[in-house]
Point group: C2
Chain length 287, copies 2
């Protein structure tokens, strides 16, 4: 018998005393309750699936409060994965024409080429988009119903202008040496697409939130592959795939995170996409 993970979260989360609990503590508590009341054995796979979702839900319930309180015009949307939303579908059709065309050219080759990646967990957008959507009053509710959280991305799909999309966030309950690479493809494709969609009007951020060890952090320090110098060329400006990789365990740490996020975005806008890593210009590899 399947664990109804959304229903269980909705039932158990409000009964917890959240004081001093990390997001992972919350996941553990919910898991304990579900295991205790289950009348049959639960497979590891079922728990894995549930823990991932419960972590996302515990995170976004707190992030909703935190981002409204700490920032002026940002909001966070859970993206879900109903038969693969492609992340670029959140943009207005007009602004992604150029990227769509590239995708089409590749797809219509005699031997088709696809550019695919998994969907990021969350997107940070301009709050205006949600505000202007009369169908959603999620901003007025301090703890909105799960259904609204899970379906908000449908409201913003095809609606965002490039400057209204600030960045993507990936949340990881845990890492493994093999599983951690999925994120690098996501970040590389997102930032590659943003060159076509944002037209360098502003940088797109990609952040990872979760616990990681030194080895994970080395992997997450990776350069964006398409900004790497090809053999024999000078290094010009190498960007990173992941902008920040932090372990945010609770609401207080989230408040700080959003404030920093808003500041960085303002700086980006002022500097008009000047890369912080111009230092690389001086590294001549053409020997």
């Amino acid at each position: 018998m399947a664990i109804r993970k959304n229903d269980e979260f909705e039932a158990i989360y409000p009964t917890l005393n959240l004081d001093g609990l990390t997001f992972l503590d919350i996941v553990d508590r919910i898991e304990q309750v579900v295991i205790q009341k289950s009348t049959q054995a639960i497979t590891q796979g079922s728990l894995n699936n549930c823990r991932g979702t419960w972590n996302e839900l515990a995170f976004i319930m707190e992030a909703h409060r935190s981002i409204l309180q700490s920032t002026e015009n940002l909001y966070l949307v859970k993206m879900g994965s109903e038969t693969s939303i492609k992340f670029w579908e959140i943009y207005q059709k007009e602004s992604r024409q150029k990227y769509d065309l590239l995708i089409d050219i590749f797809k219509n080759k005699q031997e088709p080429i696809f550019i695919r990646c998994s969907t990021p967990d969350f997107v940070v957008i301009s709050r205006d988009i949600v505000r202007e959507s009369s169908s959603s009053n999620i901003l007025q509710n301090s703890s909105p119903p799960l259904k609204e959280i899970n379906e908000l991305y449908k409201v913003i799909k095809n609606k965002c202008l490039p400057y209204q999309v600030k960045g993507f966030i990936s949340l990881k309950t845990s890492n493994r040496p093999d599983r951690r690479y999925q994120i690098l493809v996501e970040a590389n494709v997102a930032k590659f697409a943003s060159r076509y969609i944002h037209e360098s009007a502003h940088r797109l951020r990609y952040d990872i939130i979760g616990e990681s060890n030194p080895s994970d952090r080395e992997v997450f320090s990776a350069p964006l592959i398409f900004t790497l110098p090809r053999s024999g060329n000078n290094i010009t400006s190498v960007e990173r795939a992941i902008d920040s990789e932090v372990n945010i365990k609770s609401g207080q740490e989230l408040d700080e995170y959003w404030k920093r996020y808003e500041e960085i975005i303002k700086l980006d806008r002022e500097e008009k996409a000047v890369s912080p890593e111009e230092e690389f210009v001086n590294d001549n590899l053409d020997f």
Copy 2:
């Protein structure tokens, strides 16, 4: 109590009648025997770990026979992962100086950048390297001991010249939508490094062997990220990350695979790294 997966393979594999069995059939048989003789419950994680290794071992036992029989100067080496061999360490130190230097520059930045990926399962090399190593007589043995198979990469480490490394192979017992992206990072990094190491003397291949569905195959059709046109530029020559993605289930199919492999390599050498996808030159995206 841990399943001793190497010992179990060595004990059970020779007792099987392999006629008509696919590699995955062999894995299933070994699993059945191990489960039946176990006196305690075995975790899913333990089985997962073992199935991966058994599949690799069933594959290489047959590939050893097949590649010697079907080709003249190729050989296949299992790479293992003892505290992360970096794949480029199979090359002679002198030939990877340029790449090592790039890695060092990145690592010594004030905010270090690492280029990392997981180690491919197998590498296809020139048979000469193994022949010339007096310490190994693996080529004379039709079914070499596991220990020799598992440690051969130590023999060839730091010894290969660029032209002696033909390509890497990844083997997958099964795919999942999240797990399938690891391979794309591996292929992208391997081919990026090969631009520094091989100096375009010849292309490095990257193949996937395993069962995949249409969606997996779309993902595996991905372009090499660093060969993609950046917004506003003409498309010149887009390469793929994965050269072939095939489901090889048994020895007969392997024989065909190796023959094709050898042919393609000969063609590559004759054409001196001319990309087969020059057709892209005519796609002007600069609108």
